[in-house]
Amino acid sequence: MKMTINDQQLKIIFEQLGLEIPDEELRNIAQGVKFIDEMRSEVRKLKSNSTEPAHTVSFPKDKQ
């Protein structure tokens, strides 16, 4: 789930979100993207069936 994005791509994402961010500030914000990457990887680790709301779906482990 790594977001390997450059400043230009980041600018497009923010434009799509409707955020008008000056270029200089965008470069500063880009420094923080790695932290979001790390956190989203962390929450995507394998989970038990108990975290699936209906407790019914279980993918075979080798497919995950």
């Binding site: 923010f14 409707g18 955020l19 923080g32 990887s41 929450v43 995507r44 975290t51």
Partner: protein, 462 residues
């Protein structure tokens, strides 16, 4: 008797015996605010006139035999996210500068009913998240123990004003550590009660499922007094819990013999190592509890980074949902720290949020299973004493997982208690965490510790 640096419990005793007048107490606080607050910026708005009016009213009521209880005539501060009728509630932000609510937050109404006197609205990080910031309409609060140091946040003004003796307590809020961190850095006590125990109606929240309204004061006993007034079911708050409220002050027996304490060293020695001063102070506290007759056992949980990621993803996604419209239309009206953190929050997807909530269920189950064998657990609040204020960067929030966030995820009661000082005189702290709705035991343990240690005798010299 000098009314400087009284605790709520001490002042209440004097007021009840009519040895101290609420007018005298309020005047003394206002004088200290006048003398000191220019150095620590803890107040956004001082309500001197209305506080004096309320103090005179309290004095008349008490003189005529209508004493309301331990908060009657006690000066307190409100974090400026608590709505107050006809008084601006700004969230320390330009965005909200002209927001004047029509009614008080439910918990403010309860504090007033208990006779507390509102001295003013105190500083916060912008919308309880962006700080310390120097580009907002008001400067950031500074630490009374050393004004070049950070207060912690987001309840920055609460921590600073209480430590400096400008108010005797306050209402604050905690999403990932916003009560406990400033309590730790400013050397006061601060409890994040069980989720839903205090109504959030009229309190501007940061994240729907993580925000806890709570209290801060000089001692755990004072926190118990404040919590007693504020806790209780509010049918108009969807997350308020209809749970019996015990007598928190009656629980403060000073006796903790036989209690089972789990020590969660893993968080602050392996996962996110704290400095030696913090670790040593906590070890001394553990010995103290052993001497008081508690049983001590080391415990472990999933790594702190997993708790941090789970909590932060939820916090950011929920906060972004709250601020999305203003971020689109008024981006530059926010302070840079808040808006830059929120811009990153915009990168979080629906799937990220769902994965985090799924992980939250697992982590909460894990914690609750562990707690079956313990009355409380003990861990660090922060990794070190207060850093210099200019060292706190825009992404400091993301760089290292917070030691406080796990208990926002679980909704458990958790208090920060001063457990010593560094060689340079800055406060150190530990965190005591209990089972959901067992806030009374958390307060009991914290109070017993404070009673048998000397840390509450020292105050900052400003």
């Amino acid at each position: 008797m000098s009314s400087d640096f009284l605790t709520i419990a001490q002042a209440a005793k004097l007021i009840q015996k009519r040895e101290l007048s609420p007018v005298e107490l309020v005047d003394s606080c206002l004088q200290r605010i006048e003398q000191i607050d220019g150095k620590i910026n803890s107040f956004i708005r001082v309500l001197g006139d209305s506080a004096r009016v309320e103090a005179r009213k309290a004095e008349r009521e008490i003189a005529s035999g209508h004493y309301k209880g331990l908060l009657h005539g006690i000066p307190i501060g409100l974090k400026d996210v608590y709505e107050t009728a006809d008084i601006p509630t700004t969230c320390h932000s330009k965005i909200m500068m002209n927001h004047v609510p029509k009614v008080d937050a439910y918990s403010v109404m309860r504090l007033k009913q208990a006779g507390a006197i509102i001295m003013g609205k105190v500083a916060t990080h912008e919308f309880a998240f962006g700080g310390p910031s120097f580009d907002l309409p008001w400067p950031p609060a500074r630490n009374p123990w050393d004004i070049s140091c950070f207060t912690g946040g987001s309840s920055s003004g609460s921590g600073a004003s209480i430590a400096a003796g400008l108010v005797l307590g306050g209402a604050a809020g905690d999403t990932g550590g916003s009560i406990r961190t400033p309590a730790a850095y400013c050397g006061v006590s601060g409890i994040k009660p069980t989720f839903g125990l205090i109504s959030r109606r009229g309190v501007f929240i940061l994240a729907y499922s993580l925000d806890h309204a709570g209290v801060m004061a000089w001692t755990a006993e004072d926190c118990a007094i404040l919590l007693q007034a504020m806790a209780g079911f509010d049918p108009e708050d969807p997350v308020s819990t209809n749970h019996p409220i015990p007598d928190y002050c009656a629980a403060l027996t000073g006796d903790v013999k036989g209690l089972r304490i789990g020590v969660l060293r893993q968080f602050y020695t392996t996962d996110m190592p704290a400095n030696a001063a913090t670790c040593n102070a906590i070890e001394e506290a553990v010995k103290q509890f052993e001497e008081m007759g508690c049983s001590i056992q080391e415990v472990q949980l999933s790594p702190l980074t997993e708790w941090g990621a789970c909590g932060n993803i939820i916090l950011l996604a929920e906060a972004y949902a709250i601020h999305e419209a203003n971020l689109r239309t008024r981006f530059s009206d926010f302070g840079e720290i808040f808006r830059d953190r929120m811009a990153l929050a915009g990168l979080i997807t629906g799937a990220d949020y769902i994965q985090a909530t799924r992980r939250r269920r697992e982590l909460t189950d894990e914690f609750e299973k562990m707690m079956r064998n313990f009355d409380v657990i003990l861990t660090a609040v922060v990794r070190n004493e207060a850093p210099k204020i200019e060292k706190v960067g825009t992404f400091s929030f993301f760089e290292k997982p917070l030691l406080t966030m796990p208990f926002n995820i679980t909704g458990s009661p958790a208090i920060s208690v001063c457990c010593g000082y560094t060689e340079t005189g800055l406060p150190l702290a530990m965190q005591i965490v209990g089972k959901r709705f067992d806030d009374a035991t958390v307060l009991r343990v914290a109070d017993a510790y404070e009673r048998c240690t000397p840390w509450r005798q020292r105050r900052p010299v400003i």
